[in-house]
Symmetry: C2
Subunit: 156 residues, 2 copies
């Protein structure tokens, strides 16, 4: 596995990171058709799944895509700057982790912006149609200071 | 892939869910040796990674295990009840999602308890030593009411 992992690394990594960019571009442009294309099909045994920051787990294409439609309909402006992108290919599965640095519109009607940071784990599957998203798990980063982040919520 | 996925499903799933139980038991009993055994080894290309609820991404065995040592040292009592456990085997990789229903001791010195809900995605690798944890991503569930959870943070 080690050898095959290295051999496919560069080509696959480029392909996966392109799909990953398209995923965030689809959110930015509220492109539900593109989002629908990016997600893998459910199989008999397995369903796609998605965790939005602060939400519980959503499972199955229908539920996941419905959540994106809802988010797109309720988001006036959103922009992602991805940092710390790291992709690991393990056979026909790839795990991409990244930090989503997010800029959104503030409360409706105001000319304000809000910034946030989310850490995401995106699992992609190799399919006949190319790499497709099988799981997205985004969680809010609650610590602001990098030096303090390892202390987490442990300090009273 | 579909066929092999189904064929290995039951045996692998049982083995993975056993390791997953051991993972949470290790946290409950503050057993750092067991925790060390459960995590996969880093390879030249890939490092294990871990997101604790509200934290940013930690990468590499050393950093991940240090965070568990810190958490264990600062936790007087913790108990996990897992629900919605779902395991998908994809070749030599498995993704297990579950909800961690957590009971912890309150502030030190008080006879109180706190309850919380975390959604976790745990990625396991098939190794010569059995299934080993390669990524843990836990995120806080911020919505209390199941009926409202799909609305998320979208409603002002």
């Amino acid at each position: 596995m080690e050898e095959s992992r290295s051999r496919h690394m560069s080509v696959d990594t480029a392909a996966i990171e392109t799909v990953n960019q398209e995923f965030y571009a689809a959110i930015e442009s509220a492109d539900l058709d593109k989002m629908t294309e990016i997600w893998a099909e459910d199989t008999t045994d397995d369903q796609v799944s998605c965790v939005h920051p602060g939400w519980t787990l959503l499972t199955g294409r229908q539920e996941v895509l419905r959540s994106w439609a809802l988010i797109m309909a309720n988001t006036t402006y959103i922009q992602f700057v991805l940092t710390d992108v790291n992709t690991t290919v393990l056979g026909d599965v790839a795990v991409l982790t990244c930090v989503e640095n997010i800029l959104t519109a503030g409360e409706e009607g105001e000319a304000s912006f809000a910034a946030g940071k989310v850490v995401a784990s995106n699992v992609y599957l190799r399919t006949a149609q190319g790499w497709r998203l099988w799981m997205h798990h985004g969680s809010p980063v609650l610590q602001g200071d990098d030096d303090e982040e390892e202390e987490g919520e442990l300090e009273p």
